[in-house]
Symmetry: C2
Subunit: 130 residues, 2 copies
DNA sequence: TAACGCTGTGTAATAATATAACATATTTAA
DNA sequence: TTAAATATGTTATATTATTACACAGCGTTA
């Protein structure tokens, strides 16, 4: 919570917008929406997005080049993300599954990699689209 | 193997190139390399890439917008991919871990999604970069 | 208080990634 | 042998992201 207080003007504007949407937003759609607030250039948006991702307030959906707010206070350090994505309606939901997280957190390959982050995206059809 | 035989000219050229590299290649770097073979436009590359991804000959590394050849005959239907990515040297390795695959294949959320695909990317430091 | 590092802002230009639209050719299958 | 499906070639354009540069605000510290 105290991190919220230290956000800059542009970061707040953009986080507010993303948090109001329950679905991922794309950078240029964000740019369009915040022009009325005086944010004029892509770079202003990308800088805020980078910071918000870094502190875990939002996550990037890599397969969609879009950004969604994190609703889980526990993953504020965006190091372990799991999403479910409907390939028909594009609905995206963040998944918090303790057993799955444990499994992924404990995963060791046989090459001696030292992991500090993972991102998992499940694709399929949601209830409405089946 | 018989799928290889049915690849078109452009698909073969581009698959050959990707298979010769043990690391992911980006679309425009592929384009640059195949110009000498008569492939002149981005779309020709992207069309081949789409097809090769579809039949599981290559995979897209979503977080890097790059394409890597699949060396595992079992995942020819690119529905279940796991990668390890070194954030320092950008080395990418496809992971085949039976236990992990089982776990992911069997994962069910509580929203009634019907999954048909997943992609997992681990990030960290490889042995050389630690 | 001045010098400095750090973080953020604003702006313009450009790079990098990907697709639309259209015309034509080749392969496959009924 | 026609029709459908798949692939090609080309131009233009859309979308996503970064580089480069100038400057502002703030806390530290010499
Ligand atoms: Zn989260
Ligand atoms: Zn759906
Ligand atoms: Zn594979
Ligand atoms: Zn490395």
């Amino acid at each position: 919570m105290q991190k919220q207080e230290t956000l800059s003007k542009n970061q707040k504007i953009i986080l507010d917008l993303i948090e109001k949407s329950d679905q991922p937003l794309k950078a240029y759609s964000i740019l369009f929406d915040v022009k009325k607030k005086g944010i004029n250039a892509p770079l202003q948006v990308y800088r805020a997005l980078d910071k918000l991702v870094e502190i875990g307030k939002i996550h990037k959906i890599e397969s969609r080049n879009a950004f969604i707010a994190c609703k889980n206070s526990k993953c504020q350090i965006a190091k372990a993300t799991v999403f479910s994505i409907c390939e028909s309606c594009e609905d995206v939901t963040e998944i918090h599954d303790h057993k799955l997280s444990e499994h992924l957190r404990n995963f060791k390959d046989n090459k001696g990699m030292k992991y500090n982050k993972y991102n998992l995206e499940f694709f399929g059809l949601c209830k409405k689209c089946i």
